[in-house]
């Protein structure tokens, strides 16, 4: 069996790379992974097609600088929510790693999920592991050309569709499809769908386990979150060694042997090409293919299952596994707090925002009223953002100086759902109260519903 850990040439850090031909495996974890692949990729490929109130349910409308998440409209001002969400996602990864090891890698990582799909296509067209090995070593014939070409066609089509779907999260996908079919996508849409499609094709078709081994930062630092109570895939060496073949149904102990019959099924199914019997290795992505493979062999041998299994170091040493450890409690508490903070702040989010910009061209204008009294006028531009999904009316009031008035007093400002309107306004203050640069406040109140209010500060300038 070729192995990735062969001695490296002195001038390179890397072991020689051998193409890995993972053998297909059946069993409960393989089923679980199939379910995960269908659920996750189902979400990815179908979500952009879902509509909500006549609009694409999930649309990161970058040209308009708005994110639509079902009924919610998120603005750049709501960036804190995205940041929170990313922190929550990161902590969830830490928490799940501390509890159950690299579940993410084996079952949810896009690299694993897309590689699985590309492997399915490869298997369907080129045949199982032995056939693929044979085909790769065979000389080029029409048969080989057809099989290899067919695989490429399937891979490329799938990758293009993946890239197209990716862009569909950013540009309404229902209008994107006709223009894609007519080759009339915009330059950036074309570029990003090809970019994402090519990345999928390369990563899932060719790089595969090398992404995990050489490129993934998480694969390297995840062990920092492990302890002796973390669930990991382990070969039970005490039970398995010394390994060797034996007749079916014969008790290994009576022959002075361990349960492992050294069939190498666990090695052949491994997508990263390691031998789990050598102990926990950072290449292991916890996909549990070796568990399924070993269990089916143990079943045939009429030996108890679980020679390779999900277990903890403590359990393997015959000690009790502790569920609640300091790191689990710390990760869990921070995670729970952040989730609460996220939900609370989202529900308290004001459906209204306002920016106030001073007119930069003129500092102030001097006026005189009918009584000959001196007034000063400043001009501003308000950007009123209605983050709600229905139109609203607003009333603007100002404060900060004696006798300060606004020219829109008494009129209602209007903004449609998810709209940002620029409204020029002028403030006037009598010369008796306006001197130099003074702070003023703009208050905008929604007329309907919960009458939410926003207050923004600016300055009023007079000589």
């Amino acid at each position: 069996m070729t192995h990735a850990n062969d001695a490296a040439p002195a001038e390179s850090y890397y072991a020689k790379h051998h193409k890995i031909y993972p053998r297909e495996v059946k069993g409960r974890f393989a089923r679980l992974r199939t379910i995960a692949v269908f659920a996750l990729l189902g979400l990815y490929y179908l979500l952009p097609w879902m509509n909500w109130n006549g609009r694409q349910a999930i649309l990161f409308d970058l040209p308009a600088r708005q994110f639509h998440l079902f009924g919610l409209v998120m603005w750049p001002q709501d960036f804190i929510f995205l940041t929170l969400l990313l922190v929550i996602a990161g902590l969830t990864l830490f928490f799940s790693t501390a509890m159950a090891g690299r579940l993410w890698c084996g079952f949810a990582c896009p690299q694993t999920v897309w590689t699985d799909v590309f492997l399915w296509m490869e298997r369907a067209i080129e045949g199982d592991r032995a056939r693929r090995l044979k085909l790769d070593r065979a000389p080029w014939t029409l048969q080989k050309l057809l099989r290899k070409g067919g695989k490429q066609l399937a891979w490329i089509t799938f990758a293009l569709w993946t890239g197209f779907t990716f862009v569909g999260f950013f540009t309404p996908i229902r209008s994107l499809l006709p223009s894609a079919l007519a080759f009339q996508l915009g330059p950036w849409e074309t570029f990003w769908s090809l970019f994402y499609g090519f990345a999928t094709y390369g990563n899932a078709g060719y790089l595969r386990e090398q992404v995990c081994k050489y490129m993934c930062p998480y694969a390297r630092f995840q062990s920092a979150m492990f302890d002796k109570d973390t669930l990991v895939i382990t070969y039970d060496a005490r039970r398995g060694e010394p390994r060797g073949s034996r007749p079916r149904g014969v008790d290994a102990r009576s022959r002075g042997q361990g349960d492992c019959i050294d069939c190498k099924a666990c090695v052949q199914v491994c997508p990263t090409g390691i031998d789990i019997r050598e102990g926990l290795q950072y290449e292991c992505i916890s996909c549990a293919a070796c568990i399924d493979a070993c269990d089916s062999v143990m079943d045939q041998m009429q030996s108890p299952l679980g020679l390779i299994r999900f277990t903890t170091q403590h359990a393997l040493d015959g000690k009790a596994t502790q569920l609640l450890r300091p790191r689990v409690i710390v990760y869990g508490t921070i995670l729970a707090l952040l989730c609460v903070a996220f939900v609370v702040s989202l529900s308290l989010r004001k459906p209204l925002a306002m920016d106030v910009l001073r007119d930069r061209s003129t500092l102030y204008r001097e006026l005189q009223d009918a009584n000959g009294e001196q007034w000063f006028e400043n001009a501003y531009e308000l950007r009123v953002m209605n983050k709600d999904s229905v139109a609203h009316h607003y009333l603007l009031t100002v404060a900060g100086l004696e006798g300060l008035t606004v020219d829109t007093a008494g009129t209602q400002l209007e903004a449609g759902p998810g709209e940002a309107d620029s409204i020029p306004v002028r403030l006037r203050a009598p010369g008796s109260s306006a001197h130099g640069s003074r702070p003023v406040q703009f208050m905008l109140q929604q007329v309907e519903g919960n009458q939410s209010t926003v207050t923004e500060k600016s300055r009023f300038i007079a000589p």
């Binding site: 850090y13 790379h17 040209p63 750049p76 032995a130 050489y214 019959i261």
Partner: protein, 113 residues
């Protein structure tokens, strides 16, 4: 139980194929490729983050006025795209230099030349 001891699962024609395999199948990814991947991928992630943070606060259209060939930033998508590649270039240079420094560092155990 005097029957011959079969290996389980039984050796098949398929296993025979594998045993015939030469020890080293051709490498699909030369070390230079791996170096490239190690530089490009983390910097890609960093550039993605930088782009997100940058354009959450700055509208690319606001940069149009101060951009040199200003039509370059006339659409937001162009702004995002160029911004991303700008950040990717910067972060990839940093990653590349780090890799170069780390890989050319002579370790104390090396024989003096």
């Amino acid at each position: 139980m005097n029957q011959p001891t079969p290996q389980a699962p039984k050796p098949t024609e398929r296993d025979a194929v594998e045993d015939e395999l030469p020890e080293a199948t051709p490498a699909t990814w030369p070390p230079a490729g791996r170096n490239l991947a190690m530089v490009l991928w983390p910097s890609f992630l960093a550039a993605g983050m930088a782009t997100m943070f940058m354009f959450a606060w700055v509208d690319p259209l606001a940069l149009e006025a101060c951009a040199l060939p200003s039509p370059l930033l006339s659409s937001r998508l162009t702004g995002y795209g160029l911004g991303f590649f700008f950040f990717w270039g910067i972060s990839a240079s940093a990653s590349g230099i780090t890799l170069y420094l780390a890989s050319t560092l002579r370790s104390p155990t090396d024989e003096p030349k």
